[in-house]
C-alpha cells in the first residue's frame, strides 16, 4: 500500500496530461461566428484595379465564393499568401479580396510584387464593411454559398490543414447543392 501512495502524484499527472492532449486538438477560440448561417452583410465597394467599377453581393449570387480580408500592412497575410495563390491556380472557387483599411496604391503594389490570387479585389478604405462582417483581425476568410449565406469563417491565416480539411470539402459540398 505504501508504494501506491507514492504513485498518486504520477497518476494525477497522467490524467492531467491526457486531458491536455485532447485539449490540444480543440480550439477554445472556435466560438462560432454569429454570422454563420446568416446572409452575408450587404456591401457595394469600388474595385481595387478599376476604381470606377463597383462590386456588391448581387454580382456574386448563384456561386460559391470566398471573401479573404487582407491588407498590404499585414505581415500574417504573407503566411497564407502562397496557399491563396495555389488555390487561384487550381481555379476551384473564386476568391474576392477585401483590401482592408489600406491605401489602394499600396494594395496594388503589394499584389504586383507578391502575386494576385483574387478574382477581384475591393477596397474597404475606412473599414466599415469590415465592421459589418465582424472582422476583428486581418487576415480572415469567409465561405459564402450560392444563396449568399455565410457558411464558414477562418480567423487568422489560412493553414494548409484548414484549407484541405475544412474549406475545400465545404466548398465542394456547397457547389454540388
Amino acid at each position: 500500500m505504501k508504494v501506491l501512495r507514492y504513485l498518486v502524484p504520477l497518476a494525477v499527472f497522467g490524467v492531467i496530461v491526457a486531458f491536455l492532449a485532447v485539449g490540444l486538438n480543440r480550439d477554445p477560440r472556435e466560438v462560432p461566428s454569429p454570422l454563420i448561417g446568416k446572409p452575408a452583410p450587404v456591401f457595394q465597394l469600388a474595385q481595387l484595379h478599376a476604381p470606377d467599377k463597383k462590386l456588391g453581393n448581387a454580382d456574386l449570387r448563384g456561386q460559391v465564393w470566398l471573401l479573404n480580408v487582407w491588407a498590404s500592412w499585414c505581415v500574417s497575410c504573407r503566411t497564407e499568401h502562397p496557399l491563396l495563390l495555389e488555390l487561384a491556380r487550381a481555379q476551384v472557387v473564386p476568391v474576392v479580396g477585401l483590401d482592408y483599411k489600406d491605401q489602394p496604391a499600396d494594395g496594388r503594389k503589394w499584389l504586383a510584387s507578391n502575386g494576385d490570387p483574387y478574382s477581384v479585389s475591393i477596397v474597404d478604405l475606412d473599414g466599415r464593411v469590415g465592421i459589418d462582417w465582424g472582422v476583428y483581425g486581418v487576415p480572415e476568410t469567409f465561405v459564402v454559398d450560392k444563396q449568399g449565406i455565410i457558411r464558414y469563417k477562418q480567423i487568422g491565416p489560412i493553414t494548409a490543414e484548414a484549407l484541405n480539411d475544412k474549406i475545400l470539402p465545404l466548398v465542394r459540398e456547397l457547389q454540388k447543392s
Binding site: 505504501k2 508504494v3 507514492y6 504513485l7 502524484p9 504520477l10 499527472f13 497522467g14 492531467i16 496530461v17 486531458f19 491536455l20 492532449a21 485532447v22 485539449g23 490540444l24 486538438n25 480543440r26 480550439d27 477554445p28 477560440r29 466560438v31 500592412w73 499585414c74 505581415v75 500574417s76 504573407r78 483599411k101 510584387s113
Partner: protein, 664 residues
C-alpha cells in the same frame, strides 16, 4: 549577419547543453571526477552562448531589422528605443529566449555560489538543468526560431501590442520568468537528491536560499503584472483569475508551501518526501503554465500566436520531465524515511496545516483553470470558469491559512501547549477582534466581510509583533541592539513577509468593501461628487506621442472647495495598429487612489466635447502591492542569512570526492 550569429550561438548552446546534461550524470554515477567536472564550465559556456543569442535578437529589435520576421511582427521603427528593446521578449519566440536566458543564468549562478557543495551534487544539479535547457533550446530551434528571416524584408514593422508599451511591462516578464525558472534550481536539487538517494537536512539547507529567491522574484513579477492590469486596462481591476494569471499563481502557491516545508526539513528532518514532491510540483506547474500559455488550449488575454506543433512539443516535454521525475519520486521516496516525530500542537503541525491548505488552494485553482478544457475534452460543451468560482473556493481556504499563520512562528517545535499559546496570544487576539469590529464603523459602514478581513490582517500583524517582542524579552542580557542581533536574518525575513500578508489583506478587504465605481457621461465644465471628492471635467486636448495620437482629458480634483490637483487621463490611438490605449490618471495616496479613465467621446447631438468617463475611488488599493513587495523583501532578507554562506558541517555533509578541482 547578426541574426545568423545568434541562431548559430543557440545551436552551439544546444550542443553544450547536451554535454552538460549527460556527461556529469554519468560521471556522478561512475564516480568519475573528470566527467563530473564538465558540469561547471559547460553551464557557464551555455549561459554565455544564450546571452550572446539574446543580445543578437535585442540588437535586431533596437536597430529595427525588419528582415527578421519576429522583429517585423512585434516592433516598429517609431517605437521609442526602450520599448524596441523590451519588444525582444514581446513575442512568443523572444519570450522563450528570455526564459532560456534565465535558465542558463540560474545554472551559471549555481556554479558561482556552490563552492561548498560536494562535486557529485553540483554535477547532478547542473546536469538536470542542462537537460531542461536541451528541451527548451530544441523547442526554440525546431518550432520557434526567433531569428527566422522574412524575404522580402518588410518596409515597416507591425508594432508592439500597445498594452505592452508600458514601463511595467518592460520589467514584469523578466521578473516573472526569474521566478518561474528559478524553481528549476529547487527542482534540480530535488532530482539530484533522489538520484543519489540522499535527502537530508543538508539538502534542504542548500535548496532553501534558491527556492526563496525564486519565490521573491515570482512575487514581484505577479505584483507588477497585477499593478499593470490596474492602471492600463482602464477599469481598475487588479486580479482577474485569467488562465495566465493562474498559471503564475499556481507555482507561487506551491512555492510558498515549499519554502515552509523546506524549513521543517532543514530544522527537524521531517516532511522529507513531501518537500521533495513540492519541489517537483512547483517547477512542473511552471512548465504547465508555459504549456497553457503557448499551446492555445485555453483562451486568455495573454494571447500568443498558438501553433499546434508547439503545443505537441511542450506537452511531450512536459510529459517526459514531469512524468520522469514523478516516476523517480515513486521509486525513491519510499526509501527516504520519516524524521523526528512531533505532537499534534507544534510548529510542525501548524506548518503541515499550512502546506495542506496551500496545496488544496493550488489544486482548486488548477481545477478551475483546467475545467473548461476538461469539459470540452469530454464533449460536454464550452464553458468558462470565472471569478465567482475562484472567490467562492479560494477565500474559505485561505482564511484558516492566515489564521494559523499567526500561531506558527510563536509555537515551539515538536511540542507546544495550547494553554501556553493562549497566554502568549490572548491580548493579540483581543486587540484584533475588538479593533476589527470597530474599524468598519469608523470607516463609514459596518459589514461582516470587512470586519472579518480586518480581523485576519490585524491578527497576523499583532501576533507577529508579539512574537518579536517576546523573543527579545526572553533574551536576558545585553542592550536592545545586541538582542536584535541575536536573531537570524531569516527569522526577521519571515516576520516581514508575514506582515506583508497582513498589509495585503488590508488592501484587498478595504478595496472590496468600500470601493466606489461610477461610469458616467460628463460635459465640459460639469462637476460630480464621488466619495467626498469633487471631480470637474475641463475638456480634452489633442496631443501626439512618438507613435500614437492622444486625447488628454483634464479633471480637477477638489475637496471642500479646495483644488488638490488636476488629473490627466489619456485615450491613445496607436498609429500603426490603429489600436486604442487607455491610460488612466491616478491620484495615489496612502489611504487610497482616485482613478479616472476616459471611455469614448459622446457624439450625441448637443453634447459638445462630452466623454464617457469612469471615476473610481479605491481605498487602500496600493496596500495590495505594498504587501507583495514586503513579502518579497522578507524573502530577500531571509536569503541574506549568514548560515547559508557557511560551509555545511563536516559530520552532516556527504563525503566530498577527494579530488582537488582546478576550476575553483
Amino acid at each position: 549577419m547578426i541574426p545568423e550569429l545568434g541562431h548559430f550561438a543557440l545551436i552551439l548552446a544546444l550542443c553544450v547543453a547536451l554535454a552538460q546534461g549527460v556527461l556529469p550524470v554519468v560521471g556522478a554515477w561512475r564516480n568519475d571526477a573528470a566527467l563530473m567536472s564538465v558540469a561547471k564550465p559547460a553551464a557557464r559556456l551555455q549561459f554565455l552562448l544564450v546571452a550572446f543569442a539574446f543580445g543578437c535578437l535585442a540588437y535586431a529589435f533596437v536597430t529595427s531589422d525588419f528582415s527578421v520576421q519576429n522583429v517585423a511582427q512585434h516592433s516598429n521603427s517609431r517605437l521609442p528605443v526602450y520599448y524596441r528593446f523590451a519588444a525582444t521578449w514581446g513575442s512568443h519566440e523572444g519570450s522563450l529566449l528570455l526564459w532560456m536566458l534565465m535558465l542558463s543564468g540560474w545554472a551559471c549562478a549555481v556554479t558561482l555560489f556552490s563552492r561548498n557543495l560536494p562535486r557529485s551534487v553540483i554535477a547532478r544539479v547542473l546536469a538536470v538543468m542542462g537537460l531542461i535547457g536541451v528541451g527548451f533550446l530544441a523547442f526554440l530551434l525546431f518550432t520557434s526560431n526567433p531569428f527566422a528571416r522574412l524575404t522580402p524584408a518588410a518596409p515597416e514593422g507591425d508594432d508592439l501590442n500597445p498594452l505592452l508599451q508600458d514601463p511595467g511591462m518592460v520589467i514584469h516578464p523578466p521578473m516573472l520568468y526569474m521566478g518561474y525558472v528559478g524553481f528549476s534550481v529547487a527542482f534540480a536539487f530535488a532530482i539530484a537528491a533522489l538520484m543519489a538517494g540522499r535527502l537530508d537536512a543538508v539538502w534542504a539547507r542548500w535548496s532553501r536560499p534558491w527556492t526563496t529567491i525564486a519565490w521573491c522574484f515570482l512575487t514581484i513579477g505577479i505584483a507588477l503584472g497585477s499593478a499593470w492590469a490596474y492602471y492600463t486596462l482602464g477599469w481598475g481591476g487588479w486580479w482577474f483569475w485569467d488562465p495566465v494569471e493562474n498559471a503564475s499563481f499556481l507555482p507561487w502557491l506551491t512555492g510558498t508551501a515549499l519554502i515552509h516545508s523546506l524549513a521543517v526539513t532543514e530544522k527537524r528532518g521531517t516532511f522529507k518526501s513531501w518537500t521533495v514532491l513540492l519541489a517537483i510540483v512547483a517547477f512542473s506547474l511552471s512548465l504547465l503554465g508555459t504549456f497553457l500559455v503557448r499551446s492555445g488550449v485555453l483562451t486568455s488575454v495573454h494571447a500568443f500566436a498558438s501553433d499546434p506543433a508547439r503545443g505537441v512539443f511542450i506537452l511531450m516535454f512536459l510529459a517526459i520531465v514531469v512524468g520522469g521525475s514523478l516516476t523517480l519520486y515513486a521509486a525513491r521516496a519510499r526509501a527516504v524515511g520519516g524524521g523526528a516525530s512531533f505532537g499534534p500542537i507544534s510548529r510542525e503541525s501548524f506548518l503541515l496545516a499550512n502546506n495542506i491548505l496551500l496545496v488544496v488552494a493550488m489544486a482548486s485553482v488548477l481545477l478551475g483553470t483546467l475545467y473548461p478544457l476538461i469539459i470540452d475534452a469530454l464533449n460536454a460543451g464550452k464553458i468558462s470558469v470565472g471569478p465567482p468560482y475562484f472567490n467562492a473556493v479560494f477565500y474559505p481556504l485561505t482564511a484558516p491559512l492566515v489564521f494559523l499563520m499567526a500561531l506558527g512562528p510563536i509555537a515551539a517545535w515538536r511540542n507546544a501547549s495550547l494553554p501556553d499559546l493562549w497566554t502568549r496570544l490572548k491580548w493579540a487576539l483581543g486587540v484584533a477582534v475588538v479593533t476589527a469590529l470597530l474599524l468598519p464603523i469608523a470607516l463609514g459602514r459596518w459589514s461582516p466581510l470587512v470586519a472579518f478581513g480586518m480581523f485576519l490582517a490585524l491578527w497576523v500583524f499583532v501576533a507577529t509583533v508579539v512574537t518579536l517582542v517576546q523573543r527579545l524579552r526572553s533574551a536576558h542580557h545585553g542592550t536592545l541592539m545586541a538582542k536584535l542581533r541575536a536573531n537570524s536574518a531569516s527569522w526577521y525575513g519571515m516576520l516581514i513577509a508575514h506582515v506583508g500578508i497582513a498589509v495585503f489583506i488590508v488592501g484587498v478587504t478595504l478595496v472590496k468593501g468600500y470601493e466606489v465605481e461610477r461610469d458616467l457621461k460628463m460635459d465640459v465644465g460639469q462637476s460630480v461628487d464621488v466619495a467626498g471628492d469633487t471631480f470637474t471635467f475641463r475638456g480634452t486636448t489633442p496631443a501626439d506621442g512618438p507613435n500614437y495620437s492622444a486625447e488628454i482629458g483634464a479633471f480637477e480634483l477638489s475637496r471642500n472647495g479646495k483644488l488638490l490637483r488636476t488629473l490627466k487621463p489619456e485615450k491613445r490611438t496607436y498609429l500603426v495598429s490603429g489600436q486604442p490605449g487607455t491610460w488612466a490618471a491616478i491620484d495615489t495616496g496612502l489611504f487610497g487612489d482616485r482613478y479616472i479613465s476616459l471611455g469614448e467621446p459622446v457624439t450625441d447631438a448637443g453634447a459638445k466635447g462630452a466623454w464617457s468617463v469612469r471615476i473610481y475611488v479605491k481605498p487602500f488599493v496600493d496596500w495590495i502591492w505594498a504587501g507583495c513587495f514586503l513579502m518579497a523583501l522578507g524573502g530577500f532578507i531571509a536569503v541574506a542569512d549568514r548560515r547559508y554562506r557557511l560551509a555545511p558541517k563536516r559530520k552532516s555533509a556527504p563525503a566530498p570526492v577527494a579530488v582537488p578541482s582546478a576550476a575553483d
